[in-house]
Amino acid sequence: MSIELVKEKYSGAVNTVEIGGFGSKALRIGGQTGMPFLFEEARMPNAPAVALEVLDCKPEDWPSHVISAFGGATEDPVRWAGACVSDFGAKILCVRLQSLHPDWGSGSVNEAIATLRAILTETGVPLVVVGCGDDERDNDALPKVSQAMKGENCLFGIATQTNYKTLAATCLADGHSIIAESPIDVNIAKQVNILISDMGFDPGRIVMHPTTTSLGYGMEYVYSIMERSRLAAFIGDRMLAMPFILFVGQEVWKIKEAKESRVQGINWELATAVSMIQSGGDVVVMRHPEAAQSVMKYVDTIMSGGRK
């Protein structure tokens, strides 16, 4: 007896966001009309993207088996970024401006900008640019960085419910997209999106960060939030119809299971990233190049319907 599959049809879709402008190869994310990889019932025009993360300084606190995978390139952010693209096939990079952080020496904004420009020249790929994580420093520095990158159509982060105005205003002025973060909370996710769009920001240029955790640390909860958010988007909630970005590497490489063994760490990052992609992730930001390459291959295989 043949089994008839139950197919869901929705009226809504996730927004398509384009990252990358002049001089870089633009990348499109989002645009899907149903849950991931259900090609029989929905369109999924853009493959999930795997971004490799680089810092604008040496990754002092990263585990040695992540650093060693780049064969010394992490000594210089531009070489590091170049290796991500040419050696490991990254089509998009996430540059974290860690050097700006007060705990990392409060580096100069001009140097961070120079590094970022050099990375763009070296690689030519679309960039996700995130601040150092210190609100005060980021609110001072990111407008200058954003202005310097005007026209490059970057994806800038990170805006939160309590700190979004400066970044949203500067991204609006300089034509960048923005990352809106919420603490694993669908209500706050929706609220941040509204707050940002109230500033005149096109909701079609917002990417949501629902907050990431790693395998074994409550990942299922992140999944449930992403699912709820997506189902709302598919039935027409425009304030939740944004693509998702997930900072997988940042979460995985701080847990003891990943730090204690190279192979286990790579597998941990791989498993977390694949799970987040299956949960509807549109961009996963990863750190270990071998884990990232495996995820790229996985995406390639599944997007081709298993024919690769």
Partner: protein
């Protein structure tokens, strides 16, 4: 919630005058305002004083469609007036309405079939509005059965249990609310349910308060469309909040604004 804006009705003095004098801008302004306020369908009625209702309906439909692109609910007791509207409606229209009388249903459903229109079915017949939920259900079942004879599915029907004014038929509130809940069980897929909300407060004091309270109660009982004044902001807020409390939309602090951005 499908909001059917009620303001383009010749019964209102300004609208009646605008129809008689062919004041397109007055009608278009009303249409635009209602759509901006959240109406996804506009009710169109030439009103009781129209001297030439067929021409007036045609003019109204054309005038409205030049400014907004929502569906229209063509509201008349005369089938030739409705057909005049159907002839010019660009989007799928709603016929407002048929009673549960055989002869009326035969004409209306034949027309609905011909123009692929949806139909509002009133749970009443020549003997008047029923007093009980069960009588309303009987009439609603008759309407669904007759529609099916014409190949019209329940999903294209809006069943109206007929809300009665609270100051003359106070006992009917509960009957109407229960009827809404049970109408939805009459078929699968379920029919839509609709009420002409302002009926409930006719000639009463505190009309807006009565309307929005009843709307919230009706939504809790499964109502999925209503003919109402979308420019009544408190009413629309109550509607949005009711749907939120029923978990139809995801909460956020700016939930009213979020709904309106949809």
């Amino acid at each position: 919630m499908i909001v059917i804006g009620e303001l383009i009705n010749g019964m209102y003095k300004d609208v009646g005058k605008a129809i008689a004098n062919r004041e397109t801008d007055v009608i278009q302004h009303l249409a635009e305002e209602q759509v901006r306020a959240g109406a996804s369908v506009l009710d169109v009625s030439v009103g009781p004083y129209s001297k030439n209702p067929v021409d007036d309906m045609k003019w109204l439909v054309e005038a409205i469609q030049k400014s907004v692109s929502v569906s229209l609910s063509l509201d008349s007791t005369k089938t030739d007036v409705i057909e005049a509207g159907l002839n010019f409606a660009k989007n799928r229209a709603i016929i407002n309405s048929t009673s549960a009388d055989e002869d009326k249903m035969a004409v209306v459903f034949a027309m609905a079939k011909k123009y692929k229109a949806q139909v509002i079915g009133l749970a009443m017949d020549k003997s008047g509005v029923p007093n009980s939920k069960d009588q309303r259900l009987e009439l609603a079942a008759l309407i669904i059965a007759k529609a099916m004879d014409f190949g019209i599915g329940a999903e294209d029907l809006y069943l109206d249990p007929i809300a009665m004014p609270v100051n003359v038929a106070q006992s009917q509130g509960r009957e109407v609310l229960e009827a809404i809940r049970e109408f939805r069980l009459l078929s699968n897929p379920a029919p839509h349910t609709v009420i002409g909300l302002s009926n409930v407060s006719q000639r009463a004091k505190s009309r807006n308060l009565i309307d929005r309270t009843f709307l919230a109660m009706a939504i809790a009982n499964g109502l999925d469309s209503a003919i109402l004044d979308p420019l009544d902001k408190n009413l629309m807020d109550a509607m949005i909040t009711s749907e939120l409390l029923l978990n139809k939309n995801i909460y956020c602090d700016s939930f009213l604004e979020a709904y309106r951005k949809k």
